[in-house]
Amino acid sequence: MNRNRSIIFKIIAYSAALLLLVPILIIIVWSFANNWPWPLVFPREFGIRGWEYFFSPTSNSISTLIYSILLSLTVTFITLLITIPASKALALYDFKGKKLVEILILAPLIVSPVAVAMGIHQLFIKLRLANTFLGVVLVHLIPCIPYSVRILKNVFETVGDKFQMQGKVLGANPLKNFIYVTLPIISPGIISAASLVFTVSFSQYFLTFLIGGGKIITYPMIMFPFVQSGDRMIASVYSIVFIAASLICLRSMDRLLRKYYKRGDYFYI
């Protein structure tokens, strides 16, 4: 009985892993394949044209990638700055209109920001935020905030305010209490929220395209034309870099936060 169960479990686990890995393996093969016509199971001609293009200075790929990462890090930072206090308030305090605030914050999960992007664009033109770095950062906050609030609110609900009370009676003023008690205790939640927010921001295409107006170019924007035009070799190269860059960024954010708060493994969310 138990053995059967573990076999079933293994089958499910391996097939899930396979389903995730196969597409990535295919892109890796594609990134080196000059062409890969239909009946062939494996391509015959290999080359490094895709990688050459990516690293050539004329393609601007690397600088765009760095720019894009910086933009998403900025979005992540601002999102956390807004959502940590907001989530704490939603989780621990009672105030008038709490339900409404909660619905408004989570609204972008239900109504896609793309649907209201035109309106936002109009407004941003008036405010001179269109076509600027700040404008793009602000518009990215819309889809990012709900994810972060959902995670952090749960964390605050689990932890409660008992540690803050303890900090307080031990002489910590509100600011010190926040820095020395609250932040380290919720740090595992911050890592989860930051990872998700970074990924959401890093893969935004339409919002960046609209609000950035072609002036603010992020990585997905230089990648999509290749995916669309069917140059699969170059598209695959860009995809691999996209995946690698996200993974590296997430991993280093995780490491950094864990190191800063010494250890993040005492409390799993």
Binding site: K168, V169, L170
Partner: protein, 345 residues
């Protein structure tokens, strides 16, 4: 002058009265207990003293001056919570150091103080450990050291023993008492455990439904409760309804001469340990039949039917009666307590 004084403290949570007119005085260096069932407002009282909750009305005074406007972090009243709440991201040393760091004590002094505190709670050598590596008793010791490190004016203990097993609980009680005596620190202990309160406190404040029903020393509370609610909180009691006339307690069940100057309808209370069961040969005692027996090792709890009433009785196990046995009941009448009975006979 009492070191801590609560004056007419009132508190409501969403229209539910939690505390009404709490008055309490605690002398310096004493350990008092707030004893009561869960939900009676004892933890709320503790939080009001610490400054974590503001009372709706009334005043909290330390050494004669009001501390209501002093925030919790400056008040000098530290709570050790039931769950210890050691900061999980800090090791033992850093946990104990926390309060000193907040108070900006310089590093050398902090080091000495932490060392002294860890020695006091016998946790030397555990400095580098993290809370999740400690046992329940060790966590409590560290929590205590952390609270004492900042030399608070008052130590507030919120159900500190309820997460420990019986054996550890007993040794931690002794341990905390020893430290409290040694440092002579004013301490308020919140507990729902009557035995704990009786054994540890200089004084007990019995709280029921948001009020302090009685405040006094343990023996007084047990032997001379102000009313039946207080009496019942401390355990099983026997009540006999009757009246007193010219120094005589008269009832359907017993009639006896007493030395109390009270008249009228009363309910007489007899503690189960003041009833002795004897063999039926001594005929001048009330006779009865054992209805129930619960054996608890060092004590035996009996219920004995006699004169149309069930007497609860606690005796030593040196003579054990069986259910159905005929026994004589010997009551120590001198220790009876009488409550006025408004309902009359």
């Amino acid at each position: 002058m009492p070191q801590i004084r609560l004056e007419n403290i009132k508190k409501k949570f969403e229209n539910k009265i939690v505390l009404q007119d709490i008055n309490l005085e605690v002398e310096e260096g004493k350990l008092i207990s707030l004893l009561g069932p869960s939900g009676c407002g004892k933890t709320t009282t503790l939080k009001i003293i610490a400054g974590l909750i503001k009372p709706d009305d009334g005043d909290v005074l330390f050494d004669g001056s009001s501390v209501l406007n002093i925030p919790a972090e400056k008040r000098g009243a530290v709570i050790v919570f039931q769950e210890y709440l050691l900061f999980p991201h800090l090791n033992v040393y850093e946990n104990v150091e926390f309060g000193l760091k907040m108070a900006k004590v310089d590093k050398r002094k902090r080091q000495d103080k932490v060392k002294e505190m860890l020695k006091l709670v016998q946790m030397e050598g555990h400095e580098e450990k993290y809370p999740h590596e400690l046992s329940g008793g060790q966590k409590q010791r560290v929590a205590l050291a952390r609270a004492l490190a900042i030399e608070p004016k008052v130590l507030l203990l919120d159900e500190p023993f309820s997460n420990l097993d019986t054996k550890l609980r007993e040794s931690m009680r002794d341990f905390i008492l020893e430290i409290q005596r040694k440092l002579n620190i004013t301490t308020i202990l919140v507990t729902h455990d009557k035995e704990e309160a009786l054994m540890m406190s200089d004084k007990i404040a019995l709280m029921l439904d948001g009020t302090i029903k009685q405040y006094g020393d343990p023996i007084d509370l047990y032997e001379n409760p102000v009313d039946e609610k207080v009496a019942d909180f401390f355990g099983r009691r026997n009540y006999i309804r009757g009246y007193i006339e010219k120094g005589r307690f008269i009832s359907d069940i017993i009639t006896v001469d007493i030395e109390i100057e009270k008249e009228g309808s009363v309910r007489a209370m007899i503690n189960p340990e003041n009833i002795e069961l004897v063999d039926m040969k001594d005929t001048h005692h009330i006779s009865g039949t054992v209805k129930m027996r619960k054996y608890a090792g060092d004590r035996v709890y009996y219920t004995v039917a006699a004169n149309g009433m069930d007497f609860k009785c606690t005796s030593k196990p040196n003579r054990i009666f069986n259910v159905g046995d005929s026994v004589g009941i010997k009551i120590d009448f001198s220790r009876m307590v009488f409550f006025h009975d408004d309902l009359g006979v």
